[in-house]
C-alpha cells in the first residue's frame, strides 16, 4: 500500500490559514490501512482543528467525508454535492495521488494533510516499512525476493558495499543490509551462483527518471 503519515497539526493549521468552512476528506484505501487518513483519522483531525481555531477565537466549520478512494473519478465525483460556494478549501487526507485528483476535479484550493512516504507493507500493527522502489522493471527474481533498489540505501545491484556489518546498513543500525538478506536467502535456496553474475547498469528510464509514467490497457478501453 502507499504509506503516509499526518503532517503536524500546527503545520496544517498554518497551511489552512484564515478559513471558515472546510471539507475534510478521507480515503478508504491505503491511508485507512496505515491509520493515517481514514474515517477515524478524519474525525480526529476535524475535531482537533475545530478546537484549535476556537481557542484562537475563530469559528471553523468542518464537513467530514470519507470517500471509498480518492484516486478514481467515480468516487471523487461523489464529493460534488459538498462543494458549495462557502467552502474555503478542501483538506485531503489521501496520499499525494488523491490530493491531486481532488485538485484537478474541483475548482477549490486543496491542501494535503499527509506526507506521502513510500510503497510498503505492514510489519505488525502500527509499523509499516518501505519495500518497493517503483523502478518500473522488477528484478526480484534475481535476488530471492528482496529488492536491492529500495532496501539497499545505495541501490547497489552487485552488493554488498563495504559498509555492511553484522547484517546492518551503514546508514542506520535499524536498517538491515539488503544484500545480507539477499545473500542469506539465496544461500538457503541454494542459488548463490546468481550472485556471481555481474548485473549490468539499470535502465532508469523505466523509473521516474524517464519522466512521469503511464500504463494503458487498450483492451479494456471502449468508446
Amino acid at each position: 500500500m502507499i504509506v503516509a503519515e499526518a503532517k503536524p497539526l500546527a503545520e496544517i493549521a498554518e497551511l489552512l490559514g484564515e478559513v471558515r468552512k472546510i471539507l475534510v476528506v478521507g480515503c478508504g484505501g491505503c491511508v485507512t490501512v496505515c491509520l493515517a487518513g481514514g474515517e477515524k483519522e478524519v474525525g480526529i483531525m476535524a475535531a482537533a482543528l475545530r478546537m484549535m481555531y476556537k481557542k484562537k477565537g475563530k469559528e471553523l466549520e468542518t464537513i467530514e467525508v470519507t470517500l471509498t478512494r480518492q484516486c478514481d473519478p467515480e468516487y471523487v465525483q461523489m464529493l460534488e454535492k459538498y462543494i458549495t460556494e462557502d467552502v474555503d478549501c478542501i483538506l485531503s487526507l489521501a496520499c499525494g495521488v488523491g490530493v491531486q485528483f481532488l485538485a484537478e476535479r474541483y475548482n477549490k484550493w486543496v491542501i494535503p494533510a499527509l506526507n506521502t512516504k513510500f510503497a510498503g507493507g505492514t510489519i505488525e500493527h502500527g509499523v509499516w516499512e518501505e519495500r518497493c522502489g517503483l523502478c518500473g522493471e522488477c528484478i526480484l527474481h534475481k535476488t530471492g525476493g528482496i529488492c536491492p533498489i529500495i532496501r539497499c540505501s545505495k541501490s547497489i545491484l552487485n552488493g554488498p558495499c563495504g559498509g555492511s556489518q553484522n547484517g546492518r546498513c551503514e546508514v542506520n543500525k535499524d536498517i538491515p543490509c539488503a544484500w545480507q538478506l539477499i545473500y542469506d536467502r539465496l544461500k538457503a535456496l541454494n542459488k548463490l551462483e546468481l550472485l556471481l553474475e555481474i548485473q549490468p547498469p539499470k535502465d532508469w528510464s523505466k523509473a521516474r527518471d524517464g519522466g512521469p509514467r503511464k500504463v494503458v490497457r487498450e483492451d479494456v478501453r471502449i468508446e
Partner: protein
C-alpha cells in the same frame, strides 16, 4: 476563570469500565463515601472501547477535565483493553497539547472493583486538579 459571584465548578467526565471502575463507584456509593458531584460517570464495557474521537468530543462540548478509569494492568476482563486505552489516552494527551487545551486535563487511572475508597479519592483529587487549572480554554467567559 469564573466571575466574582460564581466560583468555577469543573465539569468532569469519567469513562469507567463496567468490571472495575464502575463497580468501585457502586461500592463507594454503598459505603456512603463522599466524592464531588462534578464528576459524571459514563459506563463502558471495557476501557478498550475508548475512542480518541469521543475524548476530544468531551472537551469540544465543554468538559473541563476527562479521565478514563479501568482495571489494574494485568487484570482487564478482556485482557488488554486497558493497555489499548492507556496508549490512546497518551496519544490524546499529546493531541490536546497540540490543540492548546493541555494534555494534563486528561488522565487514565487503574483500580480494582473492590477499591471504593480509591475511586472516591481519584474523583476528589482530579476535580481539585482541574479546579486549579481553570475552565476549558475553549469556553468563553460566563459560559
Amino acid at each position: 476563570m469564573g466571575n466574582s459571584s460564581t466560583p468555577f465548578e469543573p465539569k468532569i467526565i469519567a469513562f469507567c469500565c463496567y468490571y472495575c471502575a464502575y463497580a468501585a463507584a457502586d461500592l463507594a456509593g454503598s459505603m456512603r463515601l463522599q466524592y464531588p458531584a462534578n464528576v459524571r460517570l459514563i459506563e463502558m464495557p471495557c476501557t478498550g472501547k475508548t475512542d480518541v474521537r469521543v475524548l476530544l468530543e468531551a472537551f469540544e462540548n465543554g468538559a473541563d477535565g476527562v479521565y478514563v478509569a479501568g482495571c489494574l494492568e494485568g487484570d482487564c476482563h478482556f485482557l488488554k483493553g486497558n493497555i489499548r486505552a492507556k496508549k490512546r489516552v497518551q496519544y490524546a494527551k499529546r493531541l490536546l497539547d497540540e490543540i492548546g487545551i493541555g494534555g494534563e486535563r486528561l488522565e487514565m487511572f487503574n483500580l480494582s472493583g473492590s477499591m471504593g475508597p480509591r475511586f472516591a479519592e481519584i474523583a476528589q483529587e482530579f476535580t481539585e486538579k482541574i479546579r486549579k487549572l481553570g475552565p476549558n480554554p475553549l469556553k468563553k467567559p460566563n459560559a
